[in-house]
């Protein structure tokens, strides 16, 4: 921790606590931006090398494969998805998948966004601080001249990078499976207009970014929970539990006054990108809401983490 940071740190550890991870004044040096990047790099490597992370990404990659194969089998006799024009059932866009492989990207995202994706984020975010704490490595991280704020920021950046990686894994897997199993070419937007495959790919990329941004809110929430407890499992379970609770509350019509403030309320608005012209209202609301969650829970996590006792 730099000298400047130490000054900024109003409190150390309370009586009886183990010594905090504060270096001797002589070792203090101002960490340059490169140093922060180094910290971020090492965090990214640690996170993405974990078997747990790889398994999560593997599951996410498997979803489009399963959906693709299921649709292929169901439509192999020429019948449309949903058994004869039922439509309406299953994830959004699924009825178009057999006509254009690109739609598998949207279907896969619509299928994973309600639970799989945020659950993976919850696991990684919940683990970010609490996991280090329970493994007893947090104080060693703080021994390095990083500063608590900087460490927290790095952790959050790592979780956001994971949001993007998880979304891209789903998109790339769906794109590959869609191209292998189904025809590709010009596609029809849900407004009925025709766009080229290249433009469709562009929209798919935009949707991937929107979906990744949709997860920023729960990532901040998970990070905050992670600073509250010293147990990684407890933080993950709480975050995923909160996710499930909010998803259930979002289905109760009597709560419609509250629902626009739930972080998951506008998640499926990514489908609005496939309208022609794009309908921005809900997309903007979604991004604004995610930014609000990130600001509130990010600053709460900062307030908690910079003042808490690090005992392990």
């Amino acid at each position: 921790m730099s000298r400047a940071d130490v000054r900024g740190e109003p409190v150390g550890e309370s009586e009886g606590a183990a010594p905090s991870a504060v270096p001797e004044p002589g070792t203090a040096r101002a960490p340059g931006p490169l140093w922060s990047l180094g910290l971020l790099r090492s965090e990214l490597l640690t996170t993405f090398r974990r078997w747990r992370t790889l398994a999560l990404l593997g599951v996410l990659a498997a979803v489009p494969v399963l959906v693709g194969i299921a649709v292929k089998i169901e439509t192999s006799d020429g019948s449309p998805v949903g058994g004869g024009g039922g439509g309406g059932q299953g994830p959004a866009f699924i009825s178009q998948v057999s006509n254009n492989g690109l739609f598998l990207v949207f279907t896969a995202l619509a299928a994973t966004l309600p639970f799989f994706l945020p659950m993976a984020i919850g696991v990684v975010a919940g683990d970010a601080i609490a996991g280090e704490s329970s493994a007893g490595t947090l104080r060693y991280l703080l021994v390095a001249p990083a500063g608590r704020s900087r460490l927290l920021l790095t952790k959050y950046a790592t979780v956001i990078a994971f949001c993007l990686a998880a979304t891209l894994v789903v998109v790339v897997s769906a794109l590959a499976v869609g191209a292998l199993l189904f025809p590709v070419g010009d596609l029809i937007t849900i407004s009925g207009t025709r766009i080229t495959y290249a433009e469709g790919l562009g929209r798919a990329l935009l949707i991937a970014l929107v979906v990744a941004a949709s997860l920023v809110g729960i990532a901040a929430l998970g990070l905050f929970v992670s600073t509250l407890t010293g147990s990684g499992i407890a933080a993950m379970a709480t975050t995923v539990g909160l996710l499930i609770t909010v998803q259930i509350l979002d289905q109760i019509p009597q709560l419609d006054a509250l629902q626009p403030y739930f972080f998951s309320h506008y998640w499926l608005s990514f489908a609005d990108v496939m309208r022609e012209p794009v309908y921005w209202d809900d997309l903007v609301k979604n991004l604004g809401l995610q930014a609000l969650y990130a600001a509130v829970f990010g600053s709460a996590a900062w307030a908690r983490f910079t003042t808490k006792d690090i005992t392990a």
């Binding site: 449309p80 024009g85 439509g87 057999s98």
Partner: protein, 424 residues
Amino acid sequence: MAPIDSDDNTTAGEGEELRAGRRKAARYVVPVAVMGVAAATIGLVPALADSGDPDLPKVTAEQLIEKIAKSDVQQLSGTVRINTDLGLPDLGGLESGLMSGMSGGPGSGEDGGGSAADPSAKLTELVSGSHTLRVAADGPDRQKLSLLENAAEYSLIHNGKDVWGYDSRSNEVYHSTAADSTERPERDAPGKDVPATPKDFADQALKAIDDTTSVTVGGTAHVAGRDAYRLVVEPKRDGSTVGAITVAVDAETGTPLKFTLTPASGGAAVVDVGFTEVSFAKPDASTFDFTPPAGAKVTEADKGDKGDKGDKTGERAEVPGHGRTAEGDLAKGMDGLKVIGEGWNSIATFDTGTGTGLPTASAGGDLGDLGGFLGSFGDQVKGDFGSGTVFKTRLVNALITDDGKVYAGAVTKDALVKAADAAQ
């Protein structure tokens, strides 16, 4: 300041500890402040945006009506928000289940007959709840109306002689040629059956203007970022459930931008239709191009068993005309339909011919379970005509007498009873 250490803290005085505690707490001010700013923004921004009605030259109601009539906007695109709250008994999911079942919506696709993209079935969904529509028009030959749904969209496209309905959720297409729709006014081709834009509603309201109506200009307003006059239409006499109709008219083009119908009983608007975004520029030509996507199921208008569907939709008499089959059935059912009174207080009446009322209204009160269930939605009334049951919504009330006569209209319960008495 020396590095803080547990040793330092244990030796620190009490005051020092207190100060540290305060500074600890001070950090939590940040998230609270962020939340406060957000709440203030959410609360204040709409209030600020609402303030300050535009300053426009004064016009009389007559001039304003003339302006609407002369308005000849051919090119328009925008987003329309529709809220309808008829105050029907809230059956929650059951209601919407019935709706989609009756209208041959996505849920009932497996009956093999109807197409999920049939416009008459689809647009009746607008009758209840809150919906977002997109409209685009370029002259009398090209219009498009899209109903935005969750991750799906229903589009009705009129381009030259083709009328296409496309339901993206089920990937089904409905096609009819304009020859099929020649008897309908051309300019209304998409959404021809169901009023959807503020203009459609305003036209209906202006038709109703007669000597029982007071029409005034109720100031100005901002609608969809444009300056507008507010035309207020009120029934003069008591007895109507309609409190007032407000039409916001674009000051520049004379296009109705917003239509609000408030009930006489007060409370939220029964119908509220308005542009949230509007542009009078020529829409992109590609907006009206449509070719059925590969693999989509296409239903032609003159094929498929529309008769079956007509029966189903015909049951929902309050919906202003759907397909012609449905209208036919409706007309049959309403044989002997008479209108009593005039203007706002007119009441439609017909004899069901059964000579009996609903089971709920059977005299003697020996009601079955079903009777009790139906009766719970209605009020029992008595008068010179005998007795009957009044079914109330926030706008339309209906009286079904025990001898099988039906009186319905946008009037109060008392007015219905009076009409029934007078008819004796």
